[in-house]
C-alpha cells in the first residue's frame, strides 16, 4: 500500500519536470520576452540599450541556465512581471485564484449533489419512467457542448427572464464583508455553477447507474437477499458501499474537465477568474502570465490525478497490482 503511494508520488516528479520543460520551450517560442515587455511603453529605446538589459536579465545565456533560473524562481512562486498589468504575475494570479477555486468547488459539489441521487435512482429502479427520464437527461448532458449550454442559460435566465446578473463576479458597488456582498457573490456564482454542473453530471450518473446494475446481480447481493436482508438495506449496506466509494476518487480526474470548463464559463459570464485571465493575457500577448497559468493548471491536474489514483488504490485494492 505505502509502496504504491510512494511509487505513484515519485512518478509525479518526472511528470512535473517534463511539464515545466515543455512550457519553458513554449515560452521561448512565444513572441516577446520580459525585455520586449518592459520596453513596450518606450519606443525610443535603442538596440544597444535593449541588448544591455537582455544581458542583465540573462536572456543570452544557454537555455538550460535560463530554464534553471526560471524553474528555481517558479518553485518559490516568482513567475516574473506582467507587462500589461505592470505587477508581479504572482500577485495578479493571487487576486483571481479565489474566484476560480470557488467556481470549481461549487461546480464539483453541485455535480455530486445532483448526480449521486440521480445515479442511484436510475440504477436501483432500472427501466422505470424515472430511470428513462434520467437517462434522457444524461444523454442531453453528454451531447451538449458546454459553451452552447452556458450561452443559452445566460440568454434565458439573465437576458430574457432577468433573474440573474448578466456577468461579473460581484456587484462592484457593494462593500466587501457585508451580508449583501455574500448574497451578490452567490447570485453571480449561481448561473455559471449551474451551467457547468448540469452538463457535468454525465460521467458520474453513467458510472453509478452502470455499476449499480452490475452489482445488483452479483452473488454477494443475492446472498444478502437470500438471508432476508430488507431491500433498502441491500442497497445502503451492500451495493452503495461498493458503488459510491470510487466516485469520491474521481474528483481528482474531474479537475482537467473543470479547468477546461472554467475557460468557457468564465469567458461567457465575464467571471473574474484565472480562465478569463488566461484568455485576456493570451489576447494581449502577455506571455509571462500565460506560462504561469499553464504551469499552475498543469500542476493542478497532475496533483489531482495523483490524489485520485491514491484514493482509488485505497478504495479498490485490485488496481494496486500493476
Amino acid at each position: 500500500m505505502l509502496k504504491f503511494i510512494l511509487r505513484r508520488t515519485l512518478l509525479m516528479i518526472p511528470q512535473l519536470i517534463l511539464l515545466s520543460l515543455i512550457i519553458f520551450m513554449l515560452a521561448k517560442a512565444m513572441p516577446g520576452d520580459a525585455v520586449t515587455g518592459a520596453f513596450m511603453g518606450n519606443p525610443d529605446a535603442t538596440p544597444e540599450q535593449i541588448e544591455k538589459i537582455r544581458e542583465k536579465f540573462g536572456l543570452n545565456d544557454p537555455w538550460y541556465q535560463q530554464y534553471g533560473r526560471w524553474i528555481g524562481k517558479a518553485v518559490k512562486g516568482d513567475f516574473g512581471q506582467s507587462y500589461t498589468h505592470q505587477q508581479p504575475v504572482t500577485t495578479l494570479i493571487a487576486g483571481r485564484v479565489e474566484n476560480t477555486v470557488l467556481l470549481s468547488l461549487f461546480t464539483a459539489i453541485m455535480i455530486y449533489l445532483m448526480a449521486i441521487p440521480l445515479g442511484i435512482i436510475a440504477g436501483r429502479w432500472t427501466d422505470t419512467w424515472a430511470d428513462k427520464m434520467i437517462v434522457t437527461y444524461n444523454y442531453f448532458a453528454f451531447a451538449t457542448p458546454l459553451f452552447v449550454f452556458a450561452l443559452l442559460m445566460l440568454f434565458l435566465f439573465s437576458f430574457v427572464l432577468g433573474w440573474f446578473p448578466i456577468g461579473g463576479t460581484v456587484d462592484i458597488r457593494i462593500e466587501t464583508g457585508t451580508w449583501d456582498y455574500v448574497v451578490s457573490r452567490a447570485k453571480h456564482l449561481f448561473l455559471p455553477v449551474m451551467s457547468a454542473a448540469l452538463i457535468g453530471t454525465y460521467a458520474t450518473i453513467q458510472y453509478l447507474r452502470n455499476d449499480i446494475i452490475d452489482q445488483k446481480i452479483k452473488d454477494y447481493v443475492k446472498t444478502a437477499r437470500a438471508k432476508g436482508v430488507p431491500e433498502g438495506k441491500v442497497y445502503t449496506r451492500h451495493i452503495l458501499r461498493n458503488s459510491l466509494l470510487p466516485i469520491a476518487a474521481f474528483l481528482g480526474y474531474e479537475i482537467t474537465g473543470l479547468i477546461g470548463g472554467s475557460i468557457f464559463i468564465e469567458s461567457i459570464f465575464s467571471y473574474q477568474g484565472l480562465g478569463q485571465l488566461f484568455l485576456q493575457s493570451i489576447n494581449l500577448r502577455d506571455f509571462t502570465v500565460v506560462t504561469a497559468l499553464v504551469m499552475i493548471f498543469g500542476t493542478a491536474t497532475i496533483v489531482g490525478t495523483l490524489l485520485s489514483d491514491i484514493i482509488l488504490s485505497i478504495v479498490d485494492p485490485r488496481i494496486r497490482i500493476e
Binding site: L11, P14, Q15, L18, L19, L26, A29, M30, P31, Y139, F140, F142, A143, T144, P145, L146, F147, V148, L151, L152, L154, F155, F159, I166, G167, T256, I259, G260, I263, F264, S267, I268, F278, L279, I282, N283, R285, V290, L293, V294, F297, G298, T301, I302, T305
Partner: protein, 303 residues
C-alpha cells in the same frame, strides 16, 4: 461447372449475405430505433442542405460587406437576418455548418489514426514497449489540453485551417490510444495472433490486417461519438477566438458574436440559430452513435 468465374462470384455474394457486415448490423439497429432513425434523417437533411447550399446561395455575396444592410432582423430576403457587415446569416450558417462538420471529420479521422496506431503498437508488443508508451500517454493525458491548444494556436506561424486540424488532432487521440491499447492487449493473447506470427506474417501486417479488423467495431463506435465531441470543441475554440481563422467561418464564429451582451439580447438572430444548430447536430450524431454502439455489442441490440 460451366462457368467457374460466375460461380465464384455467386459464392462470394452468397456468403456476404450469410455474414452481415458491421455496417448492415448498424443499419438494422438504426432502423429499429425510431429516435436514431429520425436523428439520422434530420442529420442527413441538415448536412445535405449545408453541403448543397453553394448551388443556391452565392458564396461571394456571403463575404461581401454591405454597410447599408447591417443588423437586419429576419425577413423574407434574409431568412435569419444579417450580421455586422450586412451579410446574410442563413448563408453563413450553412457555410459554418459545412466547415465545422468537415473539420470535425478531418480531426476525428486524423486523431483516430494516431490513436489507433499508438494503441495497436503499444498493445501488440506489450511488455517494456507498452510500459514506456503508457507512461508517455499518462503524462500527455494530464496536460491541460484546452490551454495547450490555445497557446499553440497563438504561437504557430502561418496559422491556417490545416495547422488548426493538426493541432487539434495532436491533442485528441490520447483516449482512443488507451482504449485501443487495452483491447489490443486482450487480443494479442488469442491464438490467431500467435498463428500469424508462426506463419511468418510481419508484425505491422498482423497489427493492421489481423488485429485491427477485430477492433474495427470499437473504432467505429468511438469515432462516431468523438465526431460529435470534436465538432463541439472546434466550435468552442472558434467561439473563444482560437479556432478557425477568420477566412473560414464556422458555427462558432456566429456564436462568438454573443460575447457582446447587446448582441446576445437584441440581435439574437445572429448567434441563436447557430447555437441551436450545433445542439441539434450534437444530439443527432450522438443518437446515431448510441445506436452504432448497441450494434457493436450483441447483448445490447434492440433489433
Amino acid at each position: 461447372m460451366k462457368n467457374p468465374v460466375l460461380d465464384e462470384k455467386q459464392l462470394i455474394a452468397q456468403e456476404k449475405l450469410n455474414n452481415p457486415s458491421f455496417m448492415r448490423t448498424i443499419w438494422r439497429e438504426i432502423k429499429h430505433d425510431k429516435m436514431a432513425l429520425g436523428s439520422l434523417i434530420l442529420l442527413i437533411i441538415i448536412l445535405s442542405t449545408a453541403y448543397l447550399s453553394p448551388l443556391f446561395i452565392d458564396n461571394a455575396a456571403l463575404t461581401r460587406v454591405n454597410f447599408l444592410n447591417t443588423w437586419k432582423p429576419p425577413s423574407a430576403t434574409n431568412w435569419l437576418g444579417t450580421d455586422d457587415g450586412g451579410r446574410d446569416v442563413f448563408g453563413q450558417l450553412m457555410l459554418g455548418a459545412r466547415n465545422s462538420f468537415t473539420i470535425g471529420i478531418a480531426v476525428t479521422v486524423l486523431a483516430g489514426l494516431i490513436g489507433l496506431t499508438y494503441g495497436l503498437i503499444s498493445g501488440f508488443y506489450g511488455g517494456a514497449i507498452d510500459n514506456v508508451m503508457m507512461r508517455i500517454l499518462e503524462f500527455l493525458m494530464v496536460l491541460p489540453t484546452l490551454m495547450f491548444i490555445i497557446v499553440f494556436v497563438t504561437i504557430v506561424p502561418n496559422y491556417n485551417v490545416f495547422t488548426f486540424i493538426l493541432i487539434m488532432s495532436a491533442f485528441y487521440w490520447f483516449g482512443k490510444a488507451r482504449l485501443i491499447r487495452s483491447r489490443a492487449l486482450q487480443e494479442r493473447e488469442l491464438d490467431y495472433i500467435n498463428a500469424s506470427k508462426t506463419l511468418g506474417t510481419p508484425s505491422w501486417k498482423i497489427m493492421f490486417f489481423e488485429m485491427f479488423p477485430n477492433l474495427s467495431s470499437l473504432v467505429i463506435v468511438n469515432m462516431t461519438l468523438s465526431l460529435a465531441g470534436n465538432i463541439g470543441i472546434e466550435t468552442g475554440l472558434t467561439f473563444l477566438g482560437f479556432g478557425l481563422p477568420a477566412g473560414t467561418p464556422s458555427l462558432g464564429t456566429l456564436i462568438s458574436f454573443a460575447r457582446n451582451p447587446d448582441i446576445v439580447q437584441n440581435k439574437w438572430w445572429v448567434w441563436l440559430p447557430a447555437a441551436l444548430l450545433i445542439l441539434v447536430m450534437m444530439l443527432c450524431i450522438n443518437y446515431v452513435g448510441q445506436a452504432v454502439k448497441r450494434a457493436s455489442d450483441a447483448r445490447q441490440r434492440l433489433a
